[in-house]
Amino acid sequence: MPLLKIGSLTVDYRTSRGTIRAVEDVSFSLEKGETLGLVGESGSGKSTLGLSVIRLVPYPGVIVKGHVKIDGKDIVRLPEHELRFIRGRKVAYIFQDPMTSLNPIKKISAHFAELIRTHEPNVKEAKALERAKTVLKDLGIRPERINDYPHQFSGGMRQRIMIGLATALNPDLVIADEPTTALDVIVQAKILDLLESLRNAYGMALILISHDLSIILERCDRVIILYAGHMFEHASSTELHRNPRHPYTQGLLQSIPNIELADQKLAAIPGSPPNMLNLPRGCRFWPRCSYVMKICRTKEPPLIDIGHNHFVRCFKYSRGRAKS
């Protein structure tokens, strides 16, 4: 049984201006210890998908269809009080902005003590703090600083603390939602290295969310490319790197700067992502696609299995081409 199995997941935001289908018909599964990257432009639904895994899609978002099974248990249908045993303990979430993710009026010690004692009520306060100090030491933070408030730490240190909170209970899955976007480049690499070493040490599965395909290819076993809520391509990192099939993925790969080819041109993808309240008919990428065919403007392409566990949502790969 896979650790996480998502099937035809569809999430809507019911706003006053209309319904935004932020995630549509997403399916994939994740084994224990595996790392998966979610890549997409801003607004493609990465966070919405990530938060669906712990059923924390913000108001006015609703999971309208599909299932999210963790160890075979569908959390979409779980009562709220049972969700608490999944959140933090089985699945931990690391948010994008460490500056705003800690409670400004609670000490770091309180953050750890609350977490540990919520999930392990028998642990005494002092014992919980001892454990928290060990965690901090592993993260490269002096244990005495446990009595400081969040505002006394830098952004990089706060993200370390968030990682510490996420891994303190040794969860099966950590979802890191653009954990380094808010940090400067040098700190970014350090944080990602830290995440990777903890993952190796404890064997957790990881879903790493990023808009940067190169980071994902470097650090994840598998990749899902999201576009306007749809899975566009799904393959292992090596396969996707060697053999990108979707025109969108190809565009993304070409826009990664390559140090070896010093004067290559960055092929940016023309145009911008669609308006989610007014999606184009047919494939939602066609207005930006250089391979657009007649059928793309009228019909939505299905996710096509092209072998080697490689899936693409594009009519270019439908068997015998399309009957328009």
Binding site: R84, R87, A92, S101, I105
Partner: protein, 345 residues
């Protein structure tokens, strides 16, 4: 700037503020039509008698001399040591010391204000939190509706409805006065009857004063609660959206920990500040409440004396209100600094 020098600056700043307030009241009272001496004698005095009275009250002197005399009295330290309150002049109506009258009426207002504030905060924060947690549901709309009604309903009307139901019809609670006239007030230590009777160890007097306090403070508290509901709801909605609240939920913390320990404790600081700012409105409401419930406080004192153009009494009472509002906002600022670790003490 350290907290101590901040407090000292704030206290020093209250002096020009109060002086400005005092000067305005001083002028406005004398510009308004109505003559305190004529009103004192109810037109039954001879011109000679009125002239004597005018001289006695210093009203025959030029305006600026009266003003200087009044200010001079305020800083009369010998008087302060002798009486225990500053020299606010003599009442133009009763010729008693205004300072003394104000200091004996003020505790009644203070006690009413404290209890109303407690009731308004409890109702306001509780309903505000519930409302924000059930955002856009029927419950949310009901609570907001209640808040709007409390804005619109006049204090005296709500007060009279309460008097009719709980006083006249059910006969559970007294409809006026601070204490049943058959009961001796407790020895004055703080001037607050509920506290003084507890200090005296007299539970009977405590419950008697509490009973008397209940209707007026409930009236004023409910009227103010609408504003507090709205403040609490808005601030909670804002705070509930913040990342650290979502992050706390993502760690599986209990709903109550997230609501109170994370959202409310952070929303509380802006709520506290706004409550401090609403305090002036509370005192305005206290004037109307005191009139409705024959509550012998400063508010009723002002209303009584304004009819007689009792210049000195009004000046004293208004400055006392001003001082009270200033002190409350200072205390709120100190509390803010105390509760927020980001402000270094």
């Amino acid at each position: 700037m350290g907290l101590r020098s901040y407090i000292i600056t704030r206290i020093l700043l209250t002096i020009p503020t109060l002086l400005l307030l005092l000067s305005m009241v001083f002028l406005v009272m004398r510009v308004l039509p109505g003559d305190p001496v004529a009103l004192h004698f109810e037109k039954k005095a001879t011109p000679e008698q009125m002239e004597t009275m005018r001289r006695l009250l210093g009203l025959d002197k030029p305006l600026w001399t009266q003003y200087i005399d009044y200010l001079w009295g305020l800083v009369d330290f010998g008087y302060f040591l002798e009486h225990g309150y500053p020299n606010l002049g003599k009442s133009m109506q009763t010729y008693e010391e205004v300072g003394g009258q104000i200091f004996s009426a003020f505790p009644a207002t203070l006690e009413l204000a404290i209890y109303s504030m407690i009731i308004a905060s409890v109702i306001g924060i509780l309903l505000g939190v519930v409302s924000s947690k059930s955002y856009n549901s029927i419950l949310d709309h009901l609570i907001r509706g209640f808040g709007t009604v409390t804005y619109a309903i006049p204090i005296f009307l709500l007060g009279m409805i309460f008097q009719l139901i709980f006083g006249v019809y059910l006969r559970w609670l007294p409809t006026g006065l601070r204490l049943n006239p058959a009961v001796d007030p407790p020895a004055s230590i703080t001037g607050l009857y509920t506290i003084d009777s507890l200090l005296e160890g007299n539970l009977f007097k405590f419950f008697e004063s509490l009973k008397a306090l209940l209707l007026p403070s409930l009236t004023l508290g409910i009227i103010l609660s609408g504003m507090f509901i709205r403040m609490a709801r808005t601030n909670m909605l804002e705070t509930l959206r913040l990342d650290f609240v979502t992050a706390a939920k993502a760690r599986g913390l209990k709903e109550s920990t997230v609501t109170y320990g994370y959202a409310l404790r952070n929303a509380f600081l802006p709520i506290l500040t706004m409550m401090g700012l609403q305090f002036a409105i509370l005192l305005g409401g206290a004037i109307l409440t005191e009139t409705t419930f024959s509550w012998p406080g400063l508010g009723r004192y002002i209303v009584d004396r304004i009819n007689f153009r009792d210049y000195t009494a009004i000046q004293g009472a208004v400055v006392m209100f001003g001082l009270f509002v200033t002190l409350v906002s200072l205390v709120v600022d100190i509390l803010y600094a105390y509760f927020d670790p980001r402000i270094r003490l």
